[in-house]
């Protein structure tokens, strides 16, 4: 295991992160070791090391950055990571400089998980983050594959059951835990037709214990039975991109009496789903899935209002270059005048007047009062009639 940050203060709640990225699978197709008896059609992945590094860089970004972790009630207390990749992955850390990550074998994942769980138990109001990017499959439960999957005749000893792990963690800690699972959830025929293909959970769920966790959010990159995708060429996956974008100021709510804009399971799940929907190519649809339990506890507490990606268009398109498209809130007004393209701008969330006016005064005014711009996106096509 590799501990990248450990600044937990005794007696104080903090946020503890465990991040796992698996791109190199030596026993799967294209690997450099003995091929598994049944690789179930799975091979090497370019995206997980890149996605993991993007996630860790975001978490470890210096305070005060526009993007990066912020939660004064549960500050970042520890970050632990393992990663498997053809090329070594190193992470810039505030205290230790460049740190290379250990391989994400099943044993290393187990050790890292147990250390993370111990840290989570140290305070009742701790917040936990569990991130995984790599191969995943499912039948009834979802299984995530470690680097050494396929090393032995029983390949599933080198995977773990994340569904049961989540149920177990709910009985082990008392704060809030956020699971971000960036992997496929398809059902391989070879897995469904194999008795004994039952990976263990990272810890058993002791049903004698009551559920103690105040809040659990689990967000999956895709729906049951579906695939998750990444752009080709070793880029950050679609899900991790949407997650990092959502957390970088594109979601949040300020509740009565609160001083900060809070990012919680409810609004981050909704933002991820919206961003995936609008950023995906026409084929290979990917719709995230989530499970949210218990009262909402913020993962992030941010001092500035969230932003909204505005996409304002006008129909018919031939009239776009004749109009000024605008958004106004109080004295603040942004506009795009007589340009034949969609007006794209980022604005702080809030209630705006949105409209289109003809600077020449010949065409009719189009005006929408009180448009509620809710993060992460606001899309509207104004209609100029007749």
């Amino acid at each position: 295991m590799t501990l990248l940050l450990d600044t937990a203060a005794e007696g104080q709640p903090g946020t503890h992160v465990l991040a796992i990225g698996v791109g190199s699978y030596p026993h799967l197709l294209g690997g450099d070791k003995k091929l598994a008896k049944d690789p179930i059609g799975l091979g090497q992945l370019d995206s997980p090391p890149v996605s993991l590094k993007a996630f860790l860089d975001w978490m470890l970004a210096p305070p005060g950055n526009a993007a990066g972790f912020s939660n004064h009630a549960a500050p970042l207390a520890s970050v632990e990571a393992v990663c498997s990749s053809k090329a070594a992955v190193t992470v810039d850390t505030p205290a230790l400089g460049q740190v290379p990550l250990e391989a994400a074998t099943r044993d290393n994942i187990q050790v890292a998980f147990e250390a993370w769980l111990d840290r989570m138990r140290s305070h009742p109001d701790n917040v936990g983050v569990f991130y995984f990017c790599g191969h995943g499959v499912m039948v009834a439960d979802q299984h995530l594959l470690a680097e050494d999957f396929g090393r032995t005749a029983q390949p599933w000893t080198h995977a773990f059951n994340i569904s049961l792990t989540i149920r177990a963690v709910e009985r082990e800690v008392s704060g809030a835990v956020f699971f971000f699972i960036d992997s496929c959830r398809n059902v391989p025929r070879g897995l469904a037709l194999t008795l004994g293909a039952d990976p263990q959970a990272l810890i058993g769920a002791d049903l004698k214990k009551n559920v103690s966790c105040q809040h659990v959010t689990a967000i999956y990159a895709t729906g049951e039975g579906q695939l998750a995708f990444a752009p080709t060429g070793g880029k950050v996956s679609r899900f991790t991109s949407a997650l990092l974008c959502a957390m970088s100021g594109y979601c949040g709510i300020k509740n009565p009496g609160e001083q900060t804009w809070n990012v919680d399971g409810d609004n981050v799940a909704s933002a991820i789903r919206t961003l995936l929907q609008h950023n995906e190519p026409s084929k290979d649809k990917q719709v995230s899935d989530q499970s949210i339990q218990g009262p909402l506890i913020p993962l992030l507490r941010i001092g500035v209002p969230p932003k909204v990606m505005v996409r304002l268009d006008l129909a018919p398109k031939e009239r776009r270059s004749l109009y000024e498209l605008y958004l106004a809130k109080g004295a603040n007004r942004v506009a795009q005048t007589r340009v034949d393209q969609v007006f794209k701008v980022d604005l702080p969330r809030g209630v705006y007047e949105v409209g289109a006016l003809d600077p020449q005064g010949a065409l009719p005014l189009v005006r929408h009062e009180d448009e509620d711009l809710v993060p992460p996106m606001y899309m509207l096509t104004l209609k100029s009639q007749p």
Partner: protein, 239 residues
């Protein structure tokens, strides 16, 4: 504190059970300032308005109503020269067909049921070969029953039927050459309404036909809709 009264002018169902506390629809409402900060939140129903409190220095407040589908509707309330204001949300223009309005808040905001009829609508005609079977659980076994709607409605984009179901467990089986076979649980013990409309979502997991069911217990059913979508903030506002 200043006060906002938020009412819901949604038509009550003709078939709600007498004295049923769950009969009238309840939806979460929020009072926001111009920056989107939540000032207060609560639940408004057609029988009981929400009473929201906002700070004394509030000038313009914005009241947002949320449907289970995620669709929102916002109205402004000017409190700059008064201490109380009222806002009413209506379902008058909710659907092209009055008989289908009850289902619209539970469907995707882009459902064709919520907009004027268009020649481009994906019609129910495409699903002419869909079959329905009704099953009742009795004496420890499932038995097929005749499907006898007591009322039927049909448009280009939806078909709706009302069934009178006895006290038992009921399943409606839907299938067809272009439709994945599946069972939908129906509530027993009175009148139940089933609306079937083509898929309104791009989600690859979505079934070809969307089936929406009501037993005219709007409050409980709306809460279940929010729960099924993990919309915990709305659930908290309603409970």
């Amino acid at each position: 504190m200043k006060r906002l009264h938020v009412s819901l002018a949604y038509r009550p169902s003709d078939f709600a059970r007498p004295n049923d506390p769950d009969a009238s629809v309840a939806l979460p409402v929020k009072a926001l300032d111009a920056d989107g900060t939540v000032l207060d939140e609560g639940s408004a129903s057609s029988s009981q308005p929400a009473m929201l409190s906002v700070p004394d220095d509030t000038g313009m407040a914005y009241v947002r109503l949320t449907w289970p589908s995620g669709h929102t509707e916002t109205q402004r309330a000017d409190l700059s020269e008064m201490n109380e204001a009222s806002v009413t949300f209506s379902d008058a223009a909710i659907s092209r067909n009055e008989w289908a309005a009850w289902a619209v808040p539970k469907l995707n905001p882009r459902t064709p049921l919520a907009r004027p009829e268009s020649p481009a609508d994906l019609g129910m005609d495409e699903f002419n070969n869909v079959w329905l079977r009704l099953w009742r659980f009795e004496g420890g076994v499932w038995k097929r029953e005749k499907l006898r709607p007591i009322e039927e409605r049909r448009s280009k984009v939806a078909t709706q039927m009302d069934l009178e179901l006895g006290h038992a467990h009921w399943l409606l089986q839907v299938g067809g050459s272009k439709v994945t076979w599946r069972f939908v649980a129906l509530p027993g013990g009175g009148r139940a309404r089933v609306l079937i409309t083509p898929r309104d979502s791009k989600d690859p997991r979505a079934d070809e036909l969307k089936v929406v069911v009501t037993s005219f217990r709007e409050r409980a059913e709306t809460l279940l809709e929010f729960l099924s979508r993990d919309a915990m903030r709305s659930v908290n506002a309603l409970t």
